[in-house]
Assembly symmetry: C2
Homo-oligomer: 375 residues x 2
Amino acid sequence: MPGPLRFRLDATCGGARAGTLDLPSGSVPTPAFMAVGTRGAVKACTSDQVAATGTGVMLGNTFHLALRPGAEVVRDGGGLARWNRWPRATLTDSGGFQVFSLAKLRAIDEQGVRFQSPYDGATLELTPERSIALQNDLGADVIMAFDECPPLPSPKEDVARAVARTTRWARRSLDAHRRPDDQALFGIVQGGTFEDLRAESAAALVPLDLPGYAIGGLSVGESADDMDRTLDGVCPLLPADKPRYLMGVGKPEDLVRAVARGVDMFDCVLPTRNARNGEVFTWPRGRLRLKHARFERDPLPIDPTCDCLACAGGVTRSYLRHLHKVGEIAGLTYASVHNLRHMQRLTETMRSRVLDGTYAAWAAAWLATPPAEGG
Amino acid sequence: MPGPLRFRLDATCGGARAGTLDLPSGSVPTPAFMAVGTRGAVKACTSDQVAATGTGVMLGNTFHLALRPGAEVVRDGGGLARWNRWPRATLTDSGGFQVFSLAKLRAIDEQGVRFQSPYDGATLELTPERSIALQNDLGADVIMAFDECPPLPSPKEDVARAVARTTRWARRSLDAHRRPDDQALFGIVQGGTFEDLRAESAAALVPLDLPGYAIGGLSVGESADDMDRTLDGVCPLLPADKPRYLMGVGKPEDLVRAVARGVDMFDCVLPTRNARNGEVFTWPRGRLRLKHARFERDPLPIDPTCDCLACAGGVTRSYLRHLHKVGEIAGLTYASVHNLRHMQRLTETMRSRVLDGTYAAWAAAWLATPPAEGG
């Protein structure tokens, strides 16, 4: 059975990979940075503005969408992509990460997690079966197994218990999946920064023969070295012919290092969150704080090399500084679109360097570039 | 000397007029509804989104822009339209209305108005000379004389004093104007709802031979009948060959009635302000409150007859209800763009009805249509 996902490796360069991910709603070149549409919309952007950045996948958060407006409402609207007018592929997370990080937890046991709704305080339960049912309703191209995400740092025995439970929950997620022909279910490798636990998690999940594997529980405060070491350990244990998704990552430099280690997919709120705080990326590597006084009359766009709506449209730092200083929404939009486009330029460049066989040298030079800090 | 403005009457139909306003930055068919970009941006919209609604003129508020970022910053950015990437014509008000309605007034005398900055409490002064200097820096195609705006209702002797002062200030505004070849200075007729004072104001201002005339001090709480009666009195006293601009108006029904009486130009924050509150216009005449529960699964666009970004793009009431309920910015953008497009459809329709000689019948039928209230 072909299933809803095909992944083709177009080239490798050392550990770095360039691939093509074919999903029911579209084809996505990898490495890919996915935009986060937490509650069904990328903050401060319309779907067509996000599409114009070249983004190939929009995420939705099952936790948020299940609470508001409810997964059945999205289902009745034709599924996430049709409902929010996103013309390409979509992915939903399992809700686990938000339950563990945002909600007031009531209890975690083998069955699942009970928590209080941050909207109205109601006690709700999320289990592997419930998460998958919600994701079947939301209807994204890629859905995620329900996992347990212990905070970092946690004692090793707690992480080990979470790994074992995540494996059992992954099996239950797979059993509960009612749309395997339409939606690709990814497993999530846990294990914190413990190499042996990551290996144990991967060894338990790979036999499930899921169409893709995610690496969860990173980018939660660990050092760059710990992230690198963990990826060095886990990526070789994942099937070479399936996509690898590093969840919640990250900064541009995180992507450059993780692609070198064999990661294909990323998502993070950082580009849009920083944008709303007036911090924008510059090429090849740097950031500007738009509110800084030195931009008061600066006639340049954020980045003269950028082709986003704002930069190509001639929106100046002077105008953007004003919009951010007085709190005009258009300033949030321009900065968000710019940062999303910057992430796409970065993944496009990484892909080109893999295809032409120069990734390692390019990445080393990029990472050695002192970040330009403006404002 | 030709000056920066040409106005051609393309047709009349009873009192209603269809014209073409040629300005340095573009040609504007009338009747025209202008979008308000208070602080240099239409709230929740990028300039290209506003342009896509068919809007021909964007306003800037001199009061706000003079305080933040300062008129010189806008001047050094190439003037308002270049700075905020607006591809068509611009208009700035004099700052008078905001000083009288928003600021903590310190003193009004023949020289001008002293007030406290709402940003930092500094005492500032606005005079006819200062207002025009600021507007010369902002660089809009149309600028406005500095006027005194007494609140409604005010005793007749106060309104009479304001009319006389507004005349003297209009002369000073004209004398202070340093860019008469680039910027068309409009006079503002005051007089509240007193017909004789309106006549006195018009009679005093028309001899200044300004390129256009505005009617100020309406849409501040008076009844529709009072507005109609005032326009019935004042429009015939204004030069037939010059554009007439009813400031701060208004609701769609206000436009339909005012065009019947000979008004050519309008501006109002109502379409975008209502949009941000989740209230959107429907054709031909009605409003929906997007947050209403009955839209939870409504698969229709706001208005199936509309060709705006949201409606033509298939954005549903279900999705918009969700965005407005959870406070996502994209919801403000879609609703704002829709309402702005609705106002353009209204002015385009009014113009067509003048051109084909059926305005009076069309307006009577439109005004007799019971407003559809949804949600």
